[in-house]
Structures are given as C-alpha cells and as structure tokens.
C-alpha cells in the first residue's frame, strides 16, 4: 500500500504538469490532426471502401516516432537540469517507484491522446459493420507500441539534462527499432545478404528485436503471448536501464 501511494502521488503530479502547461494541448491537437490527416487523406480511408481501421493504425508507428519522444524528453532531463531530482529522490520513495510513476503518468497521457481518436471509430461504425475485436486489439497494440517508445524516451531522458538531445537520441533509437523489422527494409537487406548464412541469421536476430512485426501481429487481431511478452520485456529492460543510468548520473 505504502508503495502505491508514493507512485500515485508522482503519477498525479506528472499528469497534472502535462495539463498545466501548453505541452499537453499542443501534443493532443497535433496528434489528433496528424492521425486524422494521415488516415483520411494519405491513407485513403474512404476510397478503400472497407469498414476497418487499418489505414488509421498503419500510421501509428510513424506518428509516435516523433510525438512520443517529445512527450518523454522532459521527464528526467528537466528534473536533472532544475536540480529537482535531488528533491524527488530524497522523498521517501525508491528510485524504481519514481521511474514507474513517471512512466505510468506519461503512458496515461498517451492513452488519453489515443482515446481521443474515438471519432474515427464512430465513423467506421457509422459507415459499415467493422470487426470490433480487431478494433480493440488495434488499440491495444497501439497502446503497447506507445509504451515501448515511451520507455526508450525515458531512458534517453535520463541520460542527459538537455531535452533536445534526449529527443534526438530517442528518435534515432526508435527509428532503428522500427526499421530493423519493417518489411521494405528487411526484404532489401535479406536479399543483399543472401550469400552469407551468418549475416542472414544476424539480420533475423536484429529484426526480431524490432517493434514492427509485433505491432503488425496485434493489428491483425491476433494477441499472442509472445507479442505481449515482447512489449513487456522491452519496457522492463528500458526502465531497468533508466534506473542504472540514474544511479550513476544523479550525482552530476
């Protein structure tokens, strides 16, 4: 119980601080406009003539690539820059609780942003008769993907006191994790590495670390345990790395 109220207080403060600053509103407006634009114009939602949300979810890995690092960059970098990290970590909380609190707050915020895309769902139900199961797993997959990006963003945020550096690092890492398993890239690389079985194996190994195949599996409406385990382990690994980085860096 003890551990819960600590984490809860941090979650509350972080969420409030999103909404007390313009960040939240800029983020929400950009996110909603961007997803709507990409879905309806670029994704040709109407022209597809299908009552599903494929055109909507297809863009999420790319939209998150820019927006999630932006939502995460402040989390630790700002604490370190302002010195409030010293205040926070001398409160009766453990470092793990503080990291979890910040992570959950940012994830809640992203969930709120995602929930506000509900008009797309309503439109789809109005136009046709979509498979509700696929919509639910689509949202679940998108939320998990956001959490994975976020855990990368928290890690890079802990590595620097400069938010811009955190943002850039996080975009690069996420882009790598995205492209490593994105079919156009993997197909090209697999063809290039045709002759060498070792390279082939290496490519497979790297691409299996990527967000992309797991995201696509869930988008197809299949929630397999291995995909859930994948996301959980990415987040756990990144948060653990955050803890190690902060243990080492908080002095400076």
């Amino acid at each position: 119980m003890e551990c819960l109220h600590n984490t809860k207080a941090i979650v509350k403060r972080e969420l409030k601080s999103y909404f007390e600053s313009p960040i939240a509103y800029v983020f929400l407006v950009v996110f909603l406009m961007l997803t709507a634009f990409l879905t309806f114009s670029v994704g040709r939602y109407y022209e597809n003539g299908q009552a599903d949300l494929r055109a909507f979810f297809w863009w999420h890995p790319w939209v998150y690539l820019i927006l999630v690092p932006a939502a995460a960059m402040r989390l630790w970098a700002e604490e370190r820059r302002a010195g409030t990290i010293e205040l926070l970590l001398t409160m009766p909380v453990t470092l793990t609780q503080a990291i979890l609190g910040k992570f959950l707050a940012a994830w809640c915020f992203l969930a709120i942003a995602l929930a506000l895309t509900f008009p797309v769902v309503l439109t789809t139900y109005y136009l046709g008769n979509p498979d509700s199961g696929v919509i639910v797993t689509g949202y679940l997959g998108s939320l998990l993907l956001a959490g994975a990006y976020l855990s990368v963003g928290i890690l890079t945020s802990a590595m620097t006191r400069n938010q811009v550096i955190s943002f850039v690092l996080s975009v690069v890492v996420c882009l790598f994790l995205l492209l490593a398993g994105w079919p156009p890239v993997t197909d090209f690389l697999v063809r290039a590495a045709q002759d060498s079985p070792v390279l082939q194996w290496l490519l497979q190994a790297v691409s299996s670390l990527s967000f992309m195949p797991h995201f696509e599996n869930i988008q197809r409406g299949v929630v397999a345990l291995r995909d859930l385990v994948y996301y959980a382990s990415v987040m756990a690994f990144m948060l653990f790395a955050t803890q190690v980085v902060l243990e080492n860096r908080k002095a400076g």
Partner: protein, 312 residues
C-alpha cells in the same frame, strides 16, 4: 538523533569525503562549515539518501541509510542547495504533492499544507506559480517542503545563500524557532551565520573534519582571541611603547588612533590594559575585548588542511 559514522565517498579517482563522523542531538543546531568543494554537499546528500555512501553509514533517528533508506528519508526534512522546486506548480499544489508523497491524505494533508504555508510565511503567495516567485520566496517554499512532515532531523544546504539581509534574518529566525525540538544541520560558508544560529560547528577541509566545537571554542583557537582594541584621543609613540611593555602583550598594531594589542596571556591582557589606561589617563574613546575571529580560525584550519594533505 543523527549519528554519522565514518562516511566515505569516492567519485572515480576523486576521494571527496574521507571518513566523516559526528553526532547531532535534539536541540542542537550544527553548523557544517568548509570551503567550496570540501565535501559538505556530498556528505549531506549521503545523509539524506540521495547518494549511497562508498563506505560508512548514517543513522537517522535509528534508521540506517544504507539498509533502510526509505525509513531514514521519512525522518528527514531536506533543503537542497539552491532550493530546487518545481517551477511550473503553484505553491499550494507543490506542497500538496509533497504531502501526498509523504503519505498524508485528505484532511490531514490539507492541514499539513496549511501549517507549512503558515510557518514558511507563504500565505500571500499560496496560489502563485513558483516559477514567478523571487529567490527568497522560492527558498521559503523549499523550506516549507522540508518542515511539512515535522521531521525530527532537518538538513539544510546553504539555506541563506543568495538571500538579502532581511530574508536571511527571516530564515535564521525560522531555524532558531524550531531548534529546541529538532536536530538541525546547516551547511554554510557564511561565518556570521554560525555565530547567529549554531550551537556547535564542524569544520571540514578536503573531505576530513578539522575542527568540532562550539563557536566560542573555535574562536579561542584564533590568535586574536583575548586581544584588546583601544582607541585614544591623542595617539603617540609613548602609548604604543607602554602597551608593548605589558608582560601579557605579545605585539601591538596601530592604525591611526586605534591600537590592537595581541595577547601573550589572553586571560590577563584586558585587565592589564584597563589598568594602564587608568594610570596614564589616556582618555580612551573606545576599548574592546576581542573574542577571536571565526574567519581566522576557518582560514587557518582549512588552508592548513591543504598543506597537510599535500606532502610536497
């Protein structure tokens, strides 16, 4: 209340804190002095659980910071250097957050917040965003945060740094006000502060303790301890010669009409000088007993530490 045992801290090749031990009891205000870079902040960060000690430990109200840091942190109110606070929050929201993270909820939380606002003299700015406040107010917000849970141990890192004389006075009064019920450690390099609020002072240099005593004890180490300052209407060679001739005087310095007599025997000099003044009828316009200057002791001890640490 606070028992610090052989704390060491190394950062890579740098040995910042080299075996610091002291105790602070309830009712004591301990001044923790030292030049910049002596290891004051590092020591405080280890006591407050921000940095883990390389070796040694601190017991805070019986809780060991190396084995049960959360319990130890619960007993401490801490004002970090430069008073960091969340600039985007209002004063009342910030204190509410601190109350919640410290485990208070509902009515109890609001009472604690109100009490802290009152004690830290923040009533006028409770709804203001902290980022818009002046440095003095921000310092008090951080102070309010430190006393919110009425901790038995209070640790303050340079609590009056960067404040104007009025604000310093306010902060010192707050400290004195709470002193009887708490064990307080304040770090500072402002020596007048030590005399104003501290019941005991520990001086460190290069990560080691070089002195530990009441401000009066420390001043007794200064070579001006027991000196006498005499100002006369008509200065003359004769006055200087007569003063120099006193058996209890070591040397005499003259600056215009003011003579400073340094003692060979600090216990007797003042009596000797007053007797001489009466005998010679010098018409003194000022006569002052010098207790000793903390600055001198500080300089002597902390610079001495430097040569001791460096055998060449």
């Amino acid at each position: 209340m606070l028992d610090i045992r052989e704390l060491h801290k190394t950062f890579g090749p740098i040995h910042a804190v080299r075996g610091i031990s002291f105790k602070v009891e309830q009712g004591e205000v301990l001044g923790f002095l030292g030049p910049n870079g002596a290891g004051k902040s590092t020591t405080m960060r280890m006591i407050t659980g921000f940095l883990p000690p390389t070796s040694g430990t601190a017991l805070v109200h019986g809780h060991d910071v190396t084995t049960d840091v959360v319990a130890a942190k619960r007993q401490i109110g801490y004002l970090p250097e430069n008073a960091p606070v969340y600039g985007d929050m209002t004063v009342v929201n910030f204190l509410r957050f601190v109350a919640e993270i410290r485990g208070y909820a509902g009515k109890e939380r609001d009472n604690r917040v109100d009490a802290a606002i009152e004690k830290a003299l923040l009533t006028g700015v409770r709804r203001q965003t902290i980022g818009t406040l002046s440095k003095g107010f921000r310092q008090r917000v951080c102070f309010g945060q430190a006393i919110l849970h009425d901790p038995p141990v209070l640790i303050m890192d340079e609590p009056t740094d960067g404040l104007d004389p009025n604000q310093k006075h306010v902060v010192r009064n707050m400290i004195l006000d709470m002193a009887p019920r708490k064990a307080i450690v304040i770090s500072t390099h402002i020596l007048e502060e030590v005399e104003a609020v501290c019941s005991r002072a520990v001086i460190i240099a290069k990560g080691r303790i070089v002195a530990n005593g009441t401000p009066a004890d420390l001043k007794a180490h200064s070579d001006s301890h027991g000196a006498v300052e005499l100002t006369v209407k008509q200065p003359s060679e004769q006055v200087a010669a007569d003063l120099r001739a006193l058996p209890s005087a070591a040397r005499v310095e003259q600056e215009g009409a003011q003579y400073t007599v340094y003692p060979r025997d600090p216990g007797r000099l003042f009596a000797d000088v007053t007797q001489l003044v009466r005998q010679r009828d010098w018409h003194p316009t000022g006569l002052k007993y010098i207790e000793g200057r903390l600055d001198d002791v500080f300089r002597e001890l902390t610079l001495g530490g430097e040569t001791a640490a460096n055998p060449n």
